[in-house]
């Protein structure tokens, strides 16, 4: 008879056996047994955040930058509800998280007990799956299943709700070997016949286009994508979630597509004759008006989630499978065919693309020496970090500019909330990224509105000595809201102006960090250099930027890819 352990001890053992390095959390009544068990061990490093939303975003940043699941522990009631935004963020971007929520004692469930909330019910629409543990003997297996479901197939967050008494009950512990769920068997290999058909269609293309999304990053398929695109000699665009899946400095890369994508990417989408979509889900911010979407293209769609296929756009060839395995097999078929794409047609296609490129859609007023242009800060950031930094982002204009101006050559370096668009994501996400990559440069690109949504995590950064660089593009407006109000509400800036901003330099200093305010374009480079030279401490760079700068190009709602605006006075196409 082996030794009996408490549920709390089993919890810790299970995390250890699962290979968990960091646990992002915040204690509370329902999880005190677990926190006591954590106190007595050294395998799992617990990161104490200042708000449970921060815990989920930090775990999310850890997961996005490593490919390993992010793990969170919060208490019942408000602990669970505070975590919901982070769970929904991970859900929309298919990020593997395992979130443990404490729950009131089993005999109190349903009685409106202190700090009781139906965590299973509240999180149900924004998790891949969730479990409640009702018997300590099920705990280890449920935890194992949670990690299995979160990390396989199309990844996503999984919540495990654990009543307090379960963590005190005792049973013997063995780490379950293979967690099998009869109802959960994600497909990995694509159908060979369909892959062959797709390869044949690719070979017929005169104007091919590759559109790759976050699935390529999540599926660790960047190398396969790069090989395939280069073999084809085709233009490649990445979605906001896919940036870094294909090298941003490769001449075949035409930039991000969609609402604030490049002119060349969107026009190539509009005029291509064969579209190869990989790990992308035809999101509304990508497609624009569906009736005008890729009117000339025969579409191939590779995705691990059957429900993503034919959801928004009807496609001719659908391959359900793991992006890496499918692309490898397709590459094999293409190599074995002894054929190549039509060279002269491809040359003509590229000369067309070059005319779109020549419009320089990301041009801005570089000559301005009076006021800092936000694009200039990001271009300088890119240059000084040689494109090698991990960049986390909040949500809004700064996010779009970072996506446009920072060229990612590697996957998992661009960490942003794409699907849910969660302001407040950037700083806590940077915590997870910096912990996972201690020696690397991690910069959080943010704005004065977003940063205030999780500003309390500056305290966490101090506690764990995380030398994150915060690039605050401070235009005293909720920039993207202001931009839409300018365009679509006759410049009625309803509640998008922040009239009582803190002194961010003093704020950073009061948390024990360094702060710098920069208001002249000529000081931008020096300030960034100074910040990056401080390798052991967090520096908060408060850039006072142009208040009225807008993100261009732009496809307005209801417009097609060919109907972009370059600036208010200049329409493209």
């Amino acid at each position: 008879m082996s030794l009996e352990l408490t549920g709390a001890e089993i919890f810790v053992r299970c995390l250890r056996d699962e290979g968990v390095e960091y646990l992002f959390g915040y204690p509370g009544g329902a999880v005190l047994h677990i926190y006591d068990a954590l106190y007595k061990q050294e395998d799992i490093k617990h990161i104490l955040v200042r708000h449970e939303q921060g815990a989920t975003h930090a775990a999310d940043g850890y997961a996005r930058s490593t490919g390993k699941p992010g793990v969170v522990l919060v208490t019942s009631g408000p602990g669970a509800t505070n975590a919901v935004t982070g769970i929904a963020t991970a859900y929309m971007d298919s990020i593997p998280l395992v979130v443990f929520t404490g729950q009131v004692m089993t005999n109190l469930i349903g009685d409106d007990a202190f700090q009781e909330v139906d965590a299973i019910g509240i999180t149900r629409p924004c998790v891949k799956h969730n479990f409640m543990v009702k018997d300590v003997r099920d705990l280890a297996l449920i935890m194992r299943k949670a990690f299995h479901v979160a990390t396989t197939g199309r990844p996503g967050p999984v919540v495990v709700d654990i009543p307090k008494d379960i963590t005190a009950h005792k049973t013997t512990y063995t780490f379950p070997k293979n967690p099998t769920l009869r109802s959960y068997k994600p497909v990995t290999e694509g159908d060979s016949g369909t892959i062959r058909k797709a390869a044949e269609l690719v070979l017929l293309a005169k104007r091919p286009m590759v559109y790759a999304g976050g699935g390529v990053v999540l599926g660790n398929a960047a190398a396969e994508l790069t090989e395939l695109v280069r073999w084809m000699g085709a233009p490649c665009t990445n979605t906001l979630m896919g940036l870094g899946a294909f090298p941003g400095t490769d001449p075949l890369f035409v930039g991000m597509l969609g609402m604030h994508g490049t002119y060349e990417a969107n026009m190539a989408m509009h005029e291509c004759d064969v579209l190869l979509a990989i790990g992308a889900r035809f999101d509304d911010r990508v497609t624009g008006d569906l009736d005008k979407f890729c009117p000339n293209a025969r579409i191939i769609h590779i995705d691990i989630d059957p429900a993503s296929i034919q959801k928004n756009v009807a496609v001719e060839i659908a391959i359900i499978g793991d992006a890496r395995l499918v692309m490898r097999e397709m590459m094999g078929v293409l190599n074995a065919s002894g054929k190549r794409l039509d060279g002269p047609a491809l040359a003509a296609w590229w000369s067309k693309i070059e005319t779109w490129r020549a419009r320089h859609c990301l041009e801005y007023d570089r000559a301005n020496t009076e006021v800092i242009k936000p694009q200039f800060v990001l271009e300088t950031l890119y240059r000084l970090t040689a494109g090698e930094a991990f960049i986390t982002s909040d949500v809004g204009q700064h996010q779009m500019w970072a996506a446009q101006f920072y060229k990612f050559n590697k996957p998992r370096r661009w960490i942003n909330s794409g699907g849910l668009g969660t302001m407040g994501f950037g700083l806590p996400a940077a915590i997870g990224v910096q912990l996972a990559h201690p020696g690397e440069t991690v910069a959080c690109v943010t704005g004065e509105a977003s940063i205030q949504m999780c500003i309390q995590e500056l305290s966490t950064c101090k506690q764990y000595d995380l030398p994150i660089k915060i690039i605050n593009l401070n235009n005293r407006y909720m920039g993207m809201v202001r931009q839409w109000q300018e365009f679509f509400y006759q410049s009625r800036y309803s509640h998008s102006y922040l009239e009582a901003l803190p002194d961010f330099v003093k704020l950073a200093e009061s948390y024990g960090h360094a702060g710098l305010r920069i208001d002249k374009p000529s000081d931008v480079e020096a300030a960034l250099k100074e910040a990056f030279a401080q390798r052991d401490r967090l520096v908060f760079l408060d850039f006072i930027t142009d208040q009225t700068e807008n993100v261009y190009p732009m496809i307005a709602a209801g417009k097609g890819h060919h109907e972009m605006h370059l600036a208010t006075d200049r329409e493209l196409a």
Binding site: G121, P125, M132, L181, R182, P306, A307, Q310, K311
Partner: protein, 166 residues
């Protein structure tokens, strides 16, 4: 178009709300939904009637299959199927109407399962259109209460919606 979907579901607390929640969250139609345990106590059977364009119903099937608690799903409408619904109807039955209602019930192969001096309660089984027809012939002024079970269905022939062999 109308689809009848048969689902085997883990018999877990919350499994039903995962299905119901999916329909409300994604704005799908749900015409009827029945659920009960099966001979295997770890599984529940759900029969779900929905409607929508082929593209929407395709999404409904895929989204349902994505739920971790869904063990197996068969769209009965893809082949030949049989469906049944049960109706319990309480009608006022007084005076000379009592015989007429009894005759109507017999014609529809209904059974009177409860009788008072003022009312009959009739049990009737069939597909939805048969139940609709019966309700139509019992004039609405006579109807005191209508309870319908929702549709259950099964495929004809050897097609089954049973768990795959392990």
């Amino acid at each position: 178009m109308r689809h009848v979907i048969s689902i085997l579901l883990e018999n877990e607390a919350g499994a039903l709300s995962r299905v119901a929640g999916l329909f409300s969250a994604r704005g799908y139609n749900i015409t009827s939904l029945t659920v009960a345990p099966t001979e295997d106590p770890s599984l529940s059977r759900m029969t779900l009637v929905t409607s929508g364009s082929e593209a929407v119903v395709d999404q409904i099937r895929k989204q349902l299959n994505k739920l971790v608690d869904v063990v197996k799903l068969v769209d009965l409408t893809d082949s030949q199927w049989i469906e049944r619904e049960m109706l319990l109807i309480k009608v006022s039955a007084e005076g000379e109407e009592r015989d007429e209602i009894k005759r109507l019930s017999d014609i529809f192969r209904g059974r009177i399962i409860d009788v008072t001096e003022e009312a009959y309660t009739i049990e009737l089984t069939g597909d939805g259109s048969k139940l609709d027809a019966f309700i139509a012939v019992i004039h609405s002024r006579r109807i005191l209460e209508v309870v319908r079970s929702g549709v259950i269905g099964i495929a004809r022939g050897s097609v089954t919606c049973a768990p795959d062999a392990p």
